[in-house]
Symmetry: C2
Subunit: 198 residues, 2 copies
């Protein structure tokens, strides 16, 4: 049966993306690479299980800001941050306010564009996943919308041990959510935490 | 050697105390007992080690709002939330803006009142602890002041799996803190997390 999972790297103060995001600084200049560098790159082997789980879903949902730095009308030359072969190897439903034709990438990733909200995107991803899992890939705004709509079965936060002070925070605008803790692993780089739906 | 530790129960969104705190609702009516009831009372045995650690220090520092609901001039009839024998069994340095004579309780707890800030309170607690640990007992404002002043050697958050949406949050006003994860334990009631100073 399809589960909807969600992964997000956050700071101690739950910031998943800093201010002033841009093509040069996808997470904002103040946050930089600090949410991902140590555990996803420098010490990848020590976090292999958690990293593998991020791309184990059969279909994905992501927000427009996670897909690219452009705003307003689509920049049709932009096909995501991930180069010609993105790590998803399956359908990715990208939220936006404007229609756009699907973009087929190498390795099985196809970006579909959804203009009618996160619930519709998750519904389309469920159908595409054909019994496999659906992952809310981010960013923070999309994750919070999915949490607020009670769409997430398993939440995985990767808490990197520094504070930012300002930015987009997980759980912002999501009052009265209840979860059940299911996992916790502290490492020198990051604390991996999981919860499931209550 | 004296370590400065700090324990705080927080919601998923890092709220350690809700709005509208009062004598009737020490954590605010919306939060109620939810930050403490399951793990500190209902299932105390499953969290015995973490609970014992909270009162293992030799001296304590706490903010005025953790000591009592009165504001402004001290209500001299108020001697804390904990009845005649508080669980501290040692000196407790209570922050406030006005001087007040010490209050000696049963079981070895004495409340001392400190009018010149958290650094002074920690300094006095260090001297009183005589090589034992000092604990920042709370509340949120005092903990954040201690974190911002880089006074905390070991931070222990007990994350209860619900969101509040508004209130006093740990790490608020504490940008650019860096810590090192040292522990994580998920239980159905709460996720116990620890970090040490970087």
């Amino acid at each position: 049966m399809t589960r909807v999972t969600a992964d997000m790297a956050v700071s101690l103060d739950l910031v998943g993306a800093g201010r002033d995001q841009s093509a040069e600084h996808p997470f904002g200049p103040h946050v930089g690479e600090r949410l991902h560098q140590t555990w996803m790159f420098d010490h990848r082997d020590q976090h292999a299980e958690e990293i593998a789980a991020i791309t184990e879903a059969r279909a994905y949902v992501m927000g427009r800001h996670m897909f690219g730095p452009d705003r307003g009308a689509w920049d049709l030359s932009w096909t995501g941050w991930w180069g010609p072969e993105p790590p998803y190897h399956g359908p990715v439903f990208v939220l936006g306010h404007r229609p756009r034709d699907p973009v087929e990438m190498e390795g099985g990733t196809t970006f579909h564009f959804v203009a009618d909200g996160v619930e519709s995107a998750v519904e389309q991803a469920r159908a595409a996943a054909d019994g496999g899992d659906v992952s809310i890939a981010g960013g923070v705004t999309t994750l919070n919308a999915a949490l607020a709509a009670d769409l997430v079965d398993e939440l995985r936060l990767h808490v990197v041990p520094f504070t930012v002070g300002e930015g987009l925070r997980v759980f912002e605008g999501v009052p009265d959510l209840s979860l059940v803790p299911t996992g916790a692993r502290a490492t020198p780089d990051v604390t991996h935490l999981t919860w499931r739906r209550a």
